[in-house]
């Protein structure tokens, strides 16, 4: 029983061998992801004024390492992930708490743990851990149970704990991303529409109260967003320069390595948050749309994988990861174009930064894993087969 429990026998599926798994890996998706990371390499090369140092080389090395992590994760049986979902969640939550405590002790506001090799941001990892935990929870409840408000208490708690910790850091952007991503999972799991309406209404009512709890710089960012010209040399400066860079790029851009806004340092943080601006300045709208197209294709693959998956856990993980990718993309690009307030969200796989890439690649590994194990049936409990 214990041994056979690892076999999915419902449709008489034999356990997949490593070779079979490798063959059924979605290579198109891997290619897409690599292309996006390749764009990142080019842009980081440009950001350093045509030098692979200091960013491009490290970006490539990280991608190589993360690629192996991704494929490894994809190879792991999906049932391992559903079993480890809560444990992983608790571990990452503990890390978040650790960061919080370290901050309290007197190291100032910190968001990462220094592991020597990399600086790990638990809040980034939490985005994936939360997807896994929520997917596991909703995998185990029927549509009728979802209709029961009491059922939702556990997943709400799963969201609330990390959200509060992240807010305390304070990292409003990540907290909102977690909420949005989780909201999407709730929605996909069948939580009734009226409950969303209720939450949205309550949320709007709470805006004036929440405003009181925002930090000064957060308030400033929102105010600046509402009227960027009010302070062109202060907080509005970044977004104004970003818009100038984008606009002056025009249809076809100024050419690779020729973005005057970026190379003369008018553009802030061009290797991280504002890297899309630089891309669109140098390659114009054509380049910007091409890059958006690559992401849309990636997201479309994620959607297809989710739809074709036979387990609710797999579906929710696939859509959860895809939505996380989408949120990164949307928030970052909308921010640099002045559509939403400035929040520190990187452009996935392109911006320079280790944790964000690792997080995204773990997520994509899970997505690929779902694709490979799409036909594996998983018991309600998540442990036993049906």
């Amino acid at each position: 029983m214990a041994v056979s429990s690892f076999r999915s026998d419902g449709l008489n599926q034999p356990e997949l061998t490593f070779g079979q798994k490798l063959a059924s890996l979605n290579w198109m998706l891997v290619l897409l992801i690599t292309m996006i990371a390749g764009i990142g390499f080019l842009m980081l090369f440009s950001a350093a004024n045509g030098d692979v140092y200091p960013w491009a080389v490290r970006h490539a090395i990280r991608y190589g390492v993360c690629l192996m992590v991704m494929v490894t994760i994809a190879m792991v049986d999906i049932r391992f992930w559903i079993r480890s979902a809560y444990i992983g969640y608790v571990l990452v939550l503990a890390l978040l708490l650790l960061v919080e405590i370290m901050g309290e002790i007197g190291m100032g506001a910190q968001r990462w743990i220094d592991l020597g090799v990399v600086q790990l941001q638990p809040s980034e990892l939490m985005k994936i851990a939360l997807v896994l935990a929520l997917a596991r929870f909703f995998h185990g409840v029927s549509y009728e149970e979802v209709g029961n408000p009491l059922t939702l208490l556990v997943p709400l708690l799963l969201i609330a704990l990390p959200a509060v910790l992240v807010l305390r850091q304070p990292d409003l952007g990540t907290a909102l991303m977690m909420l949005a991503g989780s909201g999407a999972i709730f929605f996909l799991a069948g939580v009734r529409i009226w409950k969303f309406m209720l939450v949205i209404a309550a949320g709007l009512a709470a805006v004036p109260i929440a405003w009181q709890f925002l930090r000064g710089y957060q308030k400033q960012r929102i105010l600046t967003f509402l009227d960027p010209e009010s302070d062109p040399l202060g907080s509005g400066y970044h977004i104004l320069q970003s818009k100038i860079a984008l606009g002056s790029g025009g249809m076809f851009g100024k050419g690779f390595l020729k973005g005057s806004q970026s190379h003369l340092n008018f553009l802030p943080e061009k290797q991280t948050d504002f890297i899309f601006t630089m891309l669109a300045e140098e390659f114009g709208m054509v380049g910007g749309l091409a890059m958006l197209g690559l992401y849309v294709l990636t997201i479309a693959y994620g959607f297809a994988i989710a739809i074709r998956c036979r387990s609710q856990f797999g579906r929710l993980v696939a859509m959860g990861v895809t939505t996380t990718l989408f949120l990164y993309l949307f928030i970052n690009v909308a921010m640099v174009m002045g559509l939403i307030p400035v929040v520190g969200v990187p452009l996935p796989l392109i911006s320079y930064g280790g944790t964000a890439m690792l997080t995204m690649m773990i997520g994509l590994g899970l997505l690929l894993g779902v694709s490979i194990h799409r036909d594996v049936r998983i018991a309600r409990s998540g442990v036993d087969e049906e």
Binding site: S142, Y143, E144, A184, F187, L188, A189, G190, Q241, K243, I244, A245, L246, G247, S248, G249, G250, M251, S260, Q261, H263, L264, N265, F266, A280, G284, M285, G288, L289, L292, Y295, V296, I299, A300, F303, A306, I307, Q312, R315, L316, M319, T323, F326, L329, F330, V333, A334, M337, L339, E386
Partner: protein, 684 residues
């Protein structure tokens, strides 16, 4: 049951996933739309803003035109101003580098402190000036040691230089930083190093000498560091202005004028030391950094005179010297004069800032008498043979008008009256013709109006008339005032420039020469008849006047016979004048003060002399005013005759006369070595 629930869940998931995908797609669509809006619709606006960011327009100030004298010697030019700068980011230790620099050239402690403060305030790549106005030798020393002076660099700027300093200051004027009120919106005026003409030729020809600024685009980054300089328009350097002034004569006139009757001695001369030993502390202090001392015949230190001298070419109207003393050094204005120094210039009673040659208005005194005679001759009311008896005074109504010679001159004709400067003779002429004829003659000879010289602040002087008095004073003209006017006193006021012009018009054959300071190519080759209209005066009358003026100097009884010179000297003519500034009051008379020298300086008479030479073929006219200098014969005539003879001596057309040796380090000699045209002109 379980199966159906499973299917429910999947159905809901699929439906909602589609909704979610649709939402995502529309959000990405919004991003694409925004991208289109920014990069296509608004592209032009942002393109402009981006260029604005990327490029700054840098103005290249034009090189200011020079001021040259008639022989090409620069009176104002541009000197390379070498300065040493330090760039913080290029050196590890600013203080250490400055220390090393100080061991190579002189660096004031004060400068070190200023630099250390400045480099902290400014961005790391912005150069900070350490020392300015370095000599070529100092520059060479810094350049040789450059490898040991990281962050130190040598830059060249330009500053205005006046090699002759105060000798030509009233002609050249000076330049200084642009003041708020002079800003016209021309951006070149806002450059920190830009200088604008504030006085003299620098002011009147400012526009032409300024040139046009060049400009180029400079690529800068977000913090203002210059990344790249693009080639641009070099601009147009300003035009040189060539003057009619002969700086050698100008300097001679200045020196001669300020010396007056005293002797100029080197400060270390024993007689100078002895004189200074007796002088008051104030006087000694005033001489501390002077190389020479003026000592009078009694061995006392005297102040330099205050006055003006004008030398004019009687045929062309070109001014060869326009001297006004005391002067001031125009060089410090370039970098800004200290408030204390400015205050000192303003409060000096001898008004060094005033160009007395064109802005000083003096009663002409007896130098006016030729004009009175000419007016009478022209009106047909007198001839050269007309004789009057001078008993020492003339009664008019119940007023007695005195002659300067109380016992009287006796019987005189016109020539003798001018030679001996008889007042009564002029009273008689004035009484016969009235003020308006004198007024008209004054106008014809250039008095009572601006002559249109290229210098700021020119004054009109005053030629009174009946109409003038009624209009300005509201009371009718009195005959007594005519008598006073006929000897150049009363209301009559003239500038030294007008007196020189008047004299020139009397001796050049009667042409209305206009004084000019700036050489123009088409001046009719110095031929007055071809350039100027006639005064309409009878040449025979002018001849009488010319001979009478010769008699003043060369006659046995002439008032200026003291400046006759020897047989070999060029024969000159002229007329002395002593203009009363204040009558000697009854109180002074009672106190026994009747002599000019006994009165306070500001109450003493002005000494005047107008002259021309050579008598046979007049070429130059001179007018000299020594403020409160006493007598025209004793003070003004010697000065004016020396200046006039010097003008004739150095006249290149006369030839054969060698120039006086000039001391070493003299700007004139420098100009010669640089290939000035002067030598060849002299030999020609």
């Amino acid at each position: 049951m379980l199966k159906s629930s499973e299917q429910d869940v999947q159905k809901v998931f699929t439906r909602r996933a589609l909704v979610l995908a649709g939402a995502k797609l529309s959000l990405v669509g919004a991003l694409a739309a925004r991208l289109y809006y920014l990069q296509v619709v608004e592209a032009e606006k942002f393109e402009l803003l981006s260029r604005d960011n990327q490029f700054n327009l840098e103005l290249l100030p034009p090189i200011r035109g020079r001021i040259l004298d008639r022989n090409g010697t620069p009176l104002a030019d541009n000197q390379d101003n070498f300065r040493v700068e330090i760039v913080r980011e290029q050196t590890d230790d600013v203080a250490l580098t400055l220390d090393k620099l100080a061991s190579i050239i002189e660096v004031q402690e004060w400068d070190v402190r200023r630099v250390l403060k400045d480099v902290k305030r400014k961005r790391a790549f912005v150069p900070v000036t350490v020392v300015e106005n370095l000599s070529r030798e100092e520059i060479a020393r810094v350049a040789v040691n450059a490898p040991y002076l990281p962050g130190i660099r040598i830059e060249v700027g330009r500053s205005r230089r006046y090699p002759f300093g105060e000798a030509a200051v009233h002609v050249t004027g000076y330049v200084a930083a642009v003041s708020e009120s002079e800003l016209t919106g021309d951006p070149v005026l806002e450059l920190p190093d830009f200088r604008i003409g504030k006085n003299g030729i620098e002011k009147s020809h400012d526009k032409a000498m300024r040139g046009t600024a060049g400009q180029r685009q400079v690529e800068v980054n977000a913090i203002g560091r210059i990344i790249r300089k693009l080639p641009g328009d070099e601009g147009q350097p300003g035009e040189d202005v060539r003057l009619t002034i002969d700086v050698q004569l100008q300097r001679f006139a200045n020196e001669r004028l300020s010396r007056g009757q005293a002797n100029r001695l080197p400060t270390d001369d024993p007689r100078a030391q002895a004189a200074l030993g007796q002088a008051s502390a104030d006087v000694v202090e005033a001489h501390i950094d002077r190389a020479t001392v003026l000592v009078d015949d009694d061995g006392a230190v005297v102040e330099p005179e205050s006055g003006a001298a004008v030398v004019i070419d009687v045929h062309s109207g070109e001014l060869l010297a326009l001297s006004s003393v005391p002067g001031y050094d125009p060089n410090p204005f370039n970098h800004g004069l200290s408030a204390k120094d400015w205050e000192r210039l303003l409060s000096n009673p001898r008004a060094p800032l005033n160009n007395k040659a064109v802005t000083g208005q003096y009663p002409p005194g007896s130098t006016f008498k030729m004009l009175t005679c000419l007016a009478a001759l022209d009106a047909g009311l007198a001839s050269a043979d007309t004789r009057f008896f001078c008993p020492g005074h003339l009664e008019l109504g119940d007023t007695r008008f005195h002659c300067w010679k109380r016992p009287g001159h006796g019987w005189l004709d016109m020539k003798a009256a001018l030679a001996q400067s008889c007042d009564v003779y002029m009273y008689e002429l004035g009484k016969r013709m009235g003020i308006d004829k004198i007024h008209a003659m004054g106008k014809r000879l250039g008095l009572g109006g601006k002559l249109g010289i290229d210098l700021p602040g020119e004054r009109e002087g005053l030629m009174p008339s009946r109409d003038w008095k009624l209009a300005t004073r509201g009371v009718p003209w009195q005959q007594g005032e005519t008598l006073v006017s006929s000897i150049g006193q009363g209301f009559v006021l003239t500038t030294p420039l007008q007196l020189a012009t008047m004299t020139a018009r009397m001796v050049n054959g009667g042409f209305k020469v206009k004084p000019t300071l700036v050489k123009r190519p088409a001046t009719g080759g110095g031929d007055a008849a071809a350039t100027f209209e006639s005064t309409g005066l009878d040449p025979r009358h002018l001849e009488e006047i010319r001979l009478a003026m010769s008699e003043v100097v060369n006659g046995d009884r002439g008032t200026a016979r003291g400046v006759q010179g020897s047989e070999d000297d060029v024969k000159i003519g002229g007329k002395t004048g002593t203009a009363q500034v204040r009558r000697i009051t009854m109180a002074e008379r009672l106190a026994g003060i009747t002599k000019n020298e006994d009165r306070p300086w500001a109450h003493r008479d002005h000494a005047l002399f107008v002259g021309f030479g050579p008598v046979e073929a007049p070429r130059y006219a001179v007018a000299t005013v020594v403020e409160h200098g006493g007598g025209g014969s004793t003070m003004a005539a010697p000065i004016a005759s020396d200046i006039l003879r010097e003008a004739i001596r150095i006249d290149p057309l006369r030839g054969g006369l060698t120039r006086r040796g000039t001391p070493a380090g003299d700007p004139l000699q420098e100009a010669d070595q640089q290939g000035g045209s002067r030598d060849s002109a002299d030999r020609g």
